[in-house]
C-alpha cells in the first residue's frame, strides 16, 4: 500500500537557496528507503518537508492518501505524532534522564497538564521500558542522557521515536557522527524496527556499504533533484561518480 506520495516538491529558503527542485517519489509501506547524496543536496530538507518541520514552497505530499502539504494546528501535530524522527546530533534533552527522554516521544498523545507536572500512567512507563528494551538499553533508564556515549544516545533517540508508534520513521544521517562499528549496530536497530514492526523507514546515509546492506530501495539527490532511483545493488562505479562527483572514491565501512 502506498504510504507516501510526493509530487513535484519545491523548497526555497528565505535566503533564496533552492533546496528541492521538483522532487517526485512514492514510498510503499514496509520499505527501507535510503536517500544518498552530497551534503547540501537537499536530503535533510526532503525529510523535514515530509514531517513538516519545514514548510514546502510548492508541490504536494500525500500521507496515506491524505493531502498534508499545508495542514496546520491540531492536524499537523497529529501528523507529526505518527512520524518518528531520528537526528544526526541525537537531539536528546541532555540534562534529563534517559527514561524521560523516551517518554518525550509520547508528548503529542498525552494531556498537556499531565506532561507539565510529569504525571505519567504506569502504562506509559511500561511502554517506555519496552521501547528501551528493543534497543537494548533499559538498564540505563535512570541515567542522565548526556552521560551516555554517542551510540547509546542514538539508541535512546530511536527508543524515543518508537514511543510514538510511528507509521513512518525518518532518520537524518543517523550514523554520521558515530564510529564505523557503532554505525553498523545502529543501522541494525533500524533494520529490526523495519522488519519486526513493519515500520517504513526513510534514512539519509553517506556510506554506500551501509546502503547496500540495509536499503530495499535507493534514491540519490544532486542539487535538489533526483538523479537515481533503484536497487542499491545497481549502483556501480559510474553511478557513484555521477552522484558524488568525479574525484570521489568509495570508502568501505564494515
Amino acid at each position: 500500500m502506498m504510504l507516501l506520495e510526493i509530487k513535484n516538491l519545491h523548497k526555497i529558503y528565505d535566503n533564496g537557496t533552492h533546496a528541492l527542485k521538483g522532487i517526485s517519489l512514492h514510498v510503499n509501506e514496509g520499505e527501507f528507503l535510503v536517500v544518498i547524496g552530497l551534503s547540501g543536496s537537499g536530503k535533510s530538507t526532503l525529510l523535514r518537508c515530509i514531517n513538516r518541520l519545514i514548510e514546502p514552497t510548492s508541490g504536494s505530499i500525500k500521507f496515506f492518501d491524505k493531502e498534508i502539504t499545508h495542514v496546520k494546528g491540531e492536524e499537523l501535530r497529529k501528523l507529526k505524532s505518527q512520524i518518528g524522527m531520528v537526528f544526526q546530533q541525537f537531539n536528546l534533552i541532555k540534562r534529563r534522564s534517559v527514561l524521560s527522554n523516551v517518554i518525550n516521544g509520547k508528548l503529542g498523545k498525552l494531556s498537556t497538564f499531565d506532561t507539565l507536572i510529569e504525571r505519567y500512567s504506569d502504562e506509559v512507563y511500561k511502554e517506555a521500558y519496552s521501547c528501551l528494551d528493543i534497543v537494548g538499553i533499559s538498564d540505563k533508564a535512570k541515567i542522565r542522557a548526556d552521560s551516555l556515549s554517542g551510540g547509546q544516545q542514538q539508541r535512546v533517540a530511536i527508543a524515543r521515536s518508537l514511543m510514538q508508534n510511528p507509521k513512518l520513521l525518518l532518520a537524518d544521517e543517523p550514523v554520521a557522527s558515530l564510529d564505523p562499528a557503532t554505525s553498523n549496530s545502529i543501522m541494525q536497530y533500524f533494520e529490526k524496527v523495519n522488519k519486526e514492526f513493519g515500520t517504513t523507514v526513510i534514512c539519509n546515509l553517506h556510506f554506500l556499504s551501509l546502503v547496500r546492506r540495509y536499503a530495499t530501495r535507493v534514491i540519490a539527490l544532486k542539487a535538489g533533484e533526483i538523479i537515481y532511483e533503484g536497487l542499491p545493488s545497481a549502483i556501480d562505479e559510474s553511478w557513484f561518480k555521477t552522484i558524488y562527483g568525479e574525484e570521489a572514491e568509495e570508502v568501505e565501512i564494515r
Binding site: 501535530r77 541525537f90 541532555k94
Partner: protein
C-alpha cells in the same frame, strides 16, 4: 512538456521577486542612512568644530531655521548619493556598484566620519591635561586618599548595619524579580514568538517597553520611587526591582534565543504542542543560565544599592551621602573601604557559585 517547464519557472520567479523586494528595501534604508550621515557631518563640522573650536564661541546660536536648511541639503545630497550606488550606506547594505569610485568614496568618507567624531568628542569632553596636574587639585585628592587610609573606626557598627541593610535590599529586589522576569523572558524571545503575527507584535511591544525601562538608570528610578513611596529602603528596593526585571528579561530571553535548536526540533517532531515544546525542550536548557544570571544580578544589585542610597534609597549609600555632605572624610573613608570589601566578597562568592553550578 510545456506544462513541466511552466512549473519549473515558478520557483525561479519567486527567487527573483524576493531579491527585487529585498533590494528595494535596502535602497530605502541606504537613502535614510546616507541622509543621516550627511546631516551628521555638516552639523558636527559646522557647530562643534567650526563655531565652537575654531571661532571659540561660548554660546552657540541655535535656530530651527538653520537646522531645517541643513536637513534639506542633506536630504538632497544623501538621496542622490545613495541612488548613484556609490555611498557608504549602499556598501553597508551590499547594494553598491563594485568599482573604484565606490571604493574611494566609501574609504574616504568612513575615515572622515570617524575623525570628525573623534575631534568633536574631544572638544565636547573639554579634555584638559592642565587640570590633571594642577597643584591645588592634587592637594585635594591627597586629602581624600589620606583620609581613606586613616578611617574613622568609631562608626564601624553603624556602617556595618547600613551595609547589611543594603545587601538585603539587593537580595529582596533580586528574589522578587525572578517570577516576572521568567514570564517576560519567554514572551521576549524571538525564536518562540516569531511564528505568527500576533505573538510577534506582543514580542515587539514588550521589547520596546523593556528597552525603555532598562535605559532609565536605577538611580533615576530611585528618585521617582522615593517621591512615590517615600524616601527609604523600600523606594531603593523597588527601583532595583524594576531595573532588574527589565535587564534580566533581556539576558534570559537571549539565553532562550541561544539554545540548541536540535532538541526543540526533535520534541516538536513528536507532535508536541507549543507549551510542551517550551517546557520539555527549552526550559531544561535554560535553567542553569537563568540561575547564573540571577546570582550575578544579586552581585550587581549590591553595587547598585550603594549608589541608590545616594538619592535616599536607604542603606550604606544614604550614610555615605550624609558624611560626605558634612565633609567628614575619615568616616567617608571607612564607608568606602567597607563597600569595596563587601563588593569584592560578593563578586568572589557569586563567581564561585556560578562556577559550581555549571
Amino acid at each position: 512538456m510545456i506544462q513541466n517547464n511552466e512549473i519549473n519557472l515558478i520557483p525561479q520567479k519567486i527567487i527573483a521577486d524576493k531579491k527585487k523586494i529585498e533590494d528595494k528595501f535596502n535602497l530605502a534604508k541606504a537613502i535614510f542612512l546616507d541622509i543621516f550621515f550627511v546631516f551628521y557631518s555638516i552639523i558636527v563640522v559646522q557647530r562643534a568644530i567650526y563655531l565652537k573650536f575654531i571661532l571659540d564661541k561660548s554660546d552657540l546660536p541655535f535656530s530651527w531655521h538653520q537646522i531645517f536648511t541643513v536637513f534639506l541639503v542633506s536630504i538632497f545630497i544623501g538621496t542622490f548619493w545613495a541612488l548613484s550606488k556609490t555611498s557608504l550606506s549602499c556598501k553597508l547594505f551590499g547594494i553598491a556598484n563594485d568599482n573604484k569610485t565606490t571604493k574611494w568614496t566609501v574609504e574616504i568618507f568612513a575615515w572622515f566620519l570617524f575623525n570628525i567624531t573623534f575631534i568633536a568628542g574631544w572638544i565636547v569632553t573639554k579634555i584638559s591635561i592642565v587640570s590633571i596636574f594642577s597643584s591645588e587639585g592634587i592637594h585635594g585628592a591627597e586629602r581624600l586618599f589620606g583620609a581613606m587610609f586613616h578611617p574613622q573606626m568609631g562608626i564601624f557598627d553603624d556602617s556595618l548595619f547600613a551595609m547589611i541593610e543594603t545587601i538585603y535590599i539587593a537580595l529582596i529586589a533580586t528574589l522578587i524579580s525572578i517570577p516576572p522576569t521568567l514570564i517576560l523572558s519567554f514572551f521576549t524571545a524571538r525564536n518562540l514568538m516569531k511564528d505568527n503575527k500576533i505573538s510577534f507584535a506582543v514580542y515587539y511591544i514588550l521589547r520596546i517597553i523593556l528597552n525603555f525601562v532598562r535605559s532609565i538608570e536605577p538611580l533615576i528610578w530611585a528618585i521617582i520611587f522615593s517621591v512615590w513611596v517615600g524616601i527609604g529602603p523600600f523606594a531603593g528596593m523597588i527601583a532595583l526591582l524594576v531595573h532588574t526585571i527589565a535587564s534580566n528579561a533581556k539576558l534570559y530571553s537571549e539565553a532562550i534565543e541561544g539554545i540548541e535548536q536540535g532538541p526543540v526540533e526533535a520534541i516538536s517532531a513528536t507532535g508536541a504542542n507549543k507549551i510542551q515544546v517550551v517546557w520539555h525542550a527549552v526550559v531544561p536548557q535554560i535553567v542553569l543560565p537563568f540561575l547564573s544570571f540571577t546570582i550575578y544580578r544579586w552581585d550587581i544589585n549590591v553595587r547598585m544599592a550603594t549608589i541608590i542610597g545616594l538619592v535616599g534609597g536607604g542603606g550604606i549609600g544614604t550614610m555615605l551621602m550624609q558624611y560626605q555632605g558634612l565633609a567628614k572624610w575619615r568616616e567617608v573613608g571607612l564607608i568606602i573601604l567597607m563597600i569595596a570589601f563587601v563588593v569584592w566578597i560578593m563578586d568572589y562568592i557569586s563567581a564561585k557559585i556560578r562556577e559550581a553550578i555549571y
